[in-house]
Amino acid sequence: MLIETFRLALLTVARNKLRSFLTVLGIVIGVSSVIAMVTVGQGSTQRVQSDVASLGSNLLMVRPGQPGRGPGGGQNDAPPLKAADVEALLTEIPDLVAATPAATRTLNAVYGDVTHAVTVTGTDNAYFPVRGWTLSEGRVFTEQELRAGTPVCVIGTSTSMALIGQGNPVGITMRIGKITCEVVGLLTKRDASTFGSDDNDTVIMPLKAFQRRIAGNSNVSSISVTFSDAVTAEEVTPKIQALMRERRGLTDDQDDNFNVFDMKQISSMLTGITGTLTGLLSAVAAISLLVGGIGIMNIMLVSVTERTREIGIRMAIGATEGQVLMQFLVEAVVLSLIGGFIGVIVGLGLGWAGSSALNIAFVPDWRITGAAFVFSAVVGVVFGYFPARRAARLDPIEALRHQ
């Protein structure tokens, strides 16, 4: 009997395709937005986590500028870092395993007819292990090159691909801005990218070469330090702060004019933002499900009025109140399940499209998908009940007389 009722409800819904579709649009929008948002949200969370993991563990970053303004905040009015700060950190704080300077600028790399904009970093050999890089071709810098500031460089796979295509770039000479630079090494390709930019698109050269020939000063934009497993970031950070304050000649009443970031903190902050955003958008989606439910109720009420005579006929033939109620309730549930089904498809599609547009992993959450589907059925029951009860309570004679 119930299967029969479902079959009849499907037929009724199919008879009015356009109207049924418009009725379930609210549910479709609600369900698909929940699913799309959760999918993209989870993908980006996963991305942030893998980005941070790729930065290596026990990593802190020292930058000039006031703390609390995020990376790069207030850099202009703060004195820059120097290569000597790196030496001082390593000698004064025994907990540190490595410290490496970085000065960066975006410049055009030119090889043959190809011009390619790329991030150029001046640093030393410690940069490679600290940032988790290995080489697939060639070598790192020699002591001689580092000391003399020889224009040699190690490049990433994306840069290599852009300049020479497939093949080994070691040995070629290219132009970086105004200088000529020989490629001595190729980084191993890695999957992660740091917060959206492609990690593999990079040119690395000795710090001195960068400072003298490109920047024209002896500034360092950031210092990355790694510390030993025996201590925590919370223990190391104050030591770095104290040393830097001393080196920068800050008195007790002056604020820090540099900041020390724990990359893991940034990760949890970004994850938090993603979570809040997902929550907020899910609330919007829930409201749209509610509106969808009201849409179903509205159409079911119209349907009950339109089919009053049919209800009268069914009652005369022997349908009980429960059977009429069931008929309309099942119809509402079938409608909202169809809406839920379309919503799941559309939502997964949107989630997939969004994930590929944002260049993040497509992570469908089957629990949420199932829950959204079930919830759409619940919407059908809740909002279908009132119209169905109205149908069931009709007086058979009045209903039969209805034109």
């Binding site: 009997m1 029969e4 049919e310 006929i313 009652m315 005369a316 033939i317 349908a319 009980t320 109140e321």
Partner: protein, 228 residues
Amino acid sequence: MIELRGITKSYGTGEAMVRALDGVDFSVDRGDFIAVMGPSGSGKSTTMNIIGCLDTPSSGQYLLMGQEVGGLDRDQRALLRRNFLGFIFQGFNLLPRTTALENVELPLVYQGVPQDERRERALAALGKVGLADRAGHKPSELSGGQQQRVAIARAIVTRPQLILADEPTGNLDSARSREIMLLLQQLNRDEGMTVLMVTHEPDMAAYATRVATFVDGRLQSDIRQDAH
């Protein structure tokens, strides 16, 4: 089979009160083919609706096959309709956009008859009214006479004890009306179904074995006759 004792039915209250039935005593015996006649507004349909368990009297007693109907709730009355009664209406009242076969199957759906048996019995009923070849047609694709025959098939598919027909030929021409009357007469004679039929036309009443005449909400006369 049916006993009405002192049945009254009024609509509205106070000044606006209408007494549709004003103390009707009436009985139907098994095998009767009764034509109910009388002027418009005399209470024929009201009586039929009460007998059909669609409506309840304001006062009086109604016994259907020995059972007091007055104390029954809506669902119990629905079950009586489902299992013992078959309705034929002036306006045919078939479900639109639904095939003849599905219309005839509907009462069996509510009885919970399995699909195969349902189909078989519905086709047999359509055969009895001469419409086996129109099973797949929708009401909009059938003539008025054919629609009424589908409605009759739907009324008899459950093999009810009593068929209630309120002006079944009211919307049909005389040739079509005669076909319907012959069909009802045959169901009455050959299948042993009791038939209670409201009509305004003496020609149609001539097919009945009893003619009951209502005037002003009362049963004025109740005469047995030799059917046509």
